[in-house]
């Protein structure tokens, strides 16, 4: 009874917020968190679409693939966070700073 456009709008809002966060913040940890936020917004949208498909074909197993995909996205997100945080710790050990500004070796 909730139209899909509501979930669309919500998910896109969250995605935009996350995207703005990645650009605005200079702390590496916070940047990673904003990326997680973006991932979650996509998860939400996927679940919403899976329910939409189910609503169109009620009684069947339509739409279950959406939720499987969400599960696997979570799997990948977890693995990525683990590795990403360990890289961050290495970075911190080298420079004792968390400011992304100091990752400017790309300039040369």
């Amino acid at each position: 009874m909730i139209p899909i456009s509501y979930y669309l709008f919500l998910s896109l809002t969250l995605f935009a917020i996350g995207m703005a966060g990645v650009i605005i913040r200079r702390n590496i940890v916070i940047m990673l968190m904003c990326i997680e936020l973006m991932l979650n917004s996509v998860n939400l949208l996927l679940v919403a679409f899976s329910k939409m498909h189910y609503a169109k074909n009620p009684g069947t197993e339509a739409g279950i693939d959406g939720q499987m995909l969400v599960l696997f996205i979570m799997v990948v997100a977890a693995a990525e966070v683990a590795v990403g945080l360990s890289i961050m710790i290495m970075f911190y050990r080298k420079t004792y700073k968390t400011d992304v500004q100091f990752l400017n070796r790309l300039k040369h």
């Binding site: 990645v22 650009i23 992304v100 990752l103 400017n104 070796r105 790309l106 300039k107």
Partner: protein
């Protein structure tokens, strides 16, 4: 004939290449055989062509096609030769006299360190001149035309360490070039009107194609402009006296016998075209005769031994153009032939004198060479008699035929021509007496006779000057004696067969000229035997200063052009164009500096730009923005 016709220009070209590439490595003896040798072989082949070529009133020209210069859909121009009586005659002159001058140059240039270079340029000149006369269309003639202009420049400025000589060479080339513009435009115009550049096709279409009178006049005037450039007539004649800066063999070959006659050749080749426009022929005649008069007066008071001959060449060419203007093409070609003989001989003699006097060219410092250089003396005397027109030497026949045709055509032109002929005798014998008679005025030098490599060609030319006139005996003396007229009539039409005047008038004209000429010789004998000129004053000063033509050109043409160039360089080039060109460079540097600032190395910036790109991509993809 097609077996060997292509060898005739090819051999001098090979000589040019070999002499040019090997000018430092080949020994002098080899070059002195190779240089004249190729010309000699070409001469022998030209003699064979001469006997094989069809002649007489009904002769048709032979065309030899080799390859195509342009072969597109809309335009085809072949590299082909057209051999007829006129061509073979000129080929003989070029290779024959050219060979003699090559032999002479072996002796003259013997101590020069640019020996090999000289002969390579000389051979290139023979090649270009042969292409000029042998071509079957206007473009081939133009190729040869440009080639001889180039060789003239190279050879005049041969001693390039001397800045004045280089300026003279440049002057010659530029004045030639002005004429060449006329040739080019005429060629374009001919192609536009007739659709082809081949001589045979153009001339056969003259009566059938409806070409406007104005177009024909324009074409012929432009062609004549080119001829004035190459053959040194008004207004483009001042380069020839300056061209005496080159070595004497150059003056002999190029500026006496061959290149300057290219104009006459072109007009004779196009005689059918010119016969359709009497207006142009009138202009040709008048410019020719006025040039002849002016330069004859200048020659009367020149002190340089070669400059007198240079002005004499221009004057004789003027007479030839005047004859063409009267429609007497055969007479003009006849005079080309005899003039080649005695003018080349005169230049060789002057070169011999200069060589003996150690480089001195001022006649005031010469004199009395008669006893010291006997061979030179006798040949020079023969040449002067020929050019003055004393019978039975060659000059008599050719000059009298020209004057006769002038008399028939226009009395005004004839009277000036008569005066010019008398003046010719005057200045030539002044030249002779000042140089060879009297006492040697310069006591330091000890002149001696020239080596045989120089005197042998002179003697051969002297014999030709003596007897060469007999191919053109006019009808008053011997019926059917004008062999040359018969030979060329296939090309020029049967123009001079009929005479509009009676035999007695003709004889009277000859006698009158002879009387005045002999009188001029006696006068110069009295004035210049052992003496030199006094101070110049009044009109004589005008003659001596070359009628101030050079100065007029300098102030009217050259200085304004130079000023224009300076103005353009300072203001347009520096402020305008250079700014634009540099501006483009600094603009790109500025843009790249701005663009470079994107690469900050800061990850946040890169993320921002990535996202910006994605958003723009979405916008473009889905909404067609941009």
């Amino acid at each position: 004939m097609e077996n060997y016709i292509w060898l005739i220009p090819l051999l001098p070209f090979i000589g040019f290449v070999i002499n040019g590439l090997g000018r430092h490595v080949l020994p002098k003896s080899l070059i002195s055989i190779l240089g004249p040798g190729v010309v000699f072989v070409s001469f022998v082949l030209s003699v064979m062509v001469f006997f094989a070529v069809p002649s007489g009133p009904d002769a048709a020209p032979q065309i030899f096609h080799f390859f195509d210069l342009f072969n597109f859909e809309t335009i085809q121009i072949p590299f082909a030769f057209q051999i007829d009586a006129l061509t073979s005659l000129f080929m003989l002159i070029i290779t024959g006299v050219g060979f003699l001058i090559h032999v002479y140059a072996v002796g003259y240039m013997n101590e020069d360190e640019g020996f090999g270079k000289f002969f390579s340029f000389f051979n290139l000149f023979i090649f270009s001149m042969l292409i000029l006369v042998m071509g079957s269309n206007f473009l081939m003639m133009y190729i040869g035309w440009e080639g001889v202009g180039l060789c003239s420049y190279l050879l005049i400025g041969f001693w390039y360490h001397n800045w004045d000589f280089t300026i003279a060479a440049r002057k010659a080339f530029i004045m030639n070039r002005i004429g060449d513009i006329g040739f080019l435009i005429a060629m374009f115009w001919i192609y536009k009107e007739f659709g082809t550049l081949e001589y045979r096709e153009v001339f056969s279409m003259l009566t059938t194609a409806n070409v406007a009178e104005g177009a024909l006049i324009g074409i012929t005037l432009l062609l004549f402009l080119a001829a004035t450039g190459k053959s040194a007539q008004i207004p483009l004649f001042t380069w020839l006296p300056d061209a005496m800066a080159g070595p004497t063999p150059v003056s002999a070959l190029i500026h006496a016998a061959t290149m300057v006659t290219a104009g006459i050749f072109m007009l004779t080749r196009c005689n059918e075209l010119f016969d359709m426009v009497p207006f142009t022929k009138g202009i040709v005649a008048w410019i020719g005769i006025i040039t002849a008069l002016i330069t004859a007066t200048i020659a009367m008071r020149q002190d340089d031994i070669k400059k007198v001959l240079a002005y004499s060449t221009v004057s004789q060419l003027g007479l030839m153009f005047a004859a063409i203007g009267m429609g007497a093409y055969v007479a003009a070609v006849f005079h080309v032939l005899t003039h080649a003989f005695f003018k080349a001989l005169l230049f060789m003699g002057s070169g011999s004198v200069i060589h003996a006097m150690g480089g001195e060219q001022n006649m005031n410092k010469m004199g009395g060479l008669r006893k010291l250089m006997p061979k030179t003396n006798i040949t020079m005397l023969i040449a002067c008699l020929a050019i003055a027109g004393i019978p039975p030497l060659s000059g008599f026949f050719s000059k009298d035929e020209m004057l006769l045709n002038m008399f028939i055509g226009s009395k005004a032109v004839w009277i000036i021509g008569f005066i010019v002929s008398v003046l010719t005798a005057f200045y030539m014998f002044r030249w002779y007496f000042m140089t060879f008679h009297g006492e040697l005025r310069n006591k330091e030098v000890h002149p001696h006779e020239s080596p045989s490599s120089m005197t042998m060609p002179m003697m051969i030319l002297a014999v030709l000057s003596l007897f060469g006139g007999f191919i053109g005996i006019p009808a008053v003396f011997a019926a059917n004696g004008h062999k040359l007229n018969n030979f060329l009539s296939g090309v020029t039409g049967v123009h001079e067969g009929e005479h509009a005047v009676s035999a007695s008038v003709e004889i009277m004209l000859m006698v009158a000229l002879l009387v005045f000429v002999v009188g001029a010789i006696i006068l110069t004998y009295k004035m210049y035997n052992g003496k030199t000129d006094g101070e110049a004053s009044g009109i004589i000063k005008l003659f001596k200063n070359k009628w101030y033509v050079d100065e007029i050109y300098q102030s009217a043409v050259i200085t304004p052009t130079e000023n224009l160039g300076t103005f353009l360089r300072k203001y347009v080039e520096k402020a305008g164009i250079a700014q634009i060109v540099f501006g483009v460079g600094s603009l790109s540097v500025f843009l790249s500096k701005q663009t470079k600032s994107i690469q900050t190395g800061h990850i946040g910036t890169y993320v921002l730009l990535m996202v910006l790109g994605i958003v723009a991509g979405i916008g473009f993809f889905f909404f067609g923005i941009l």
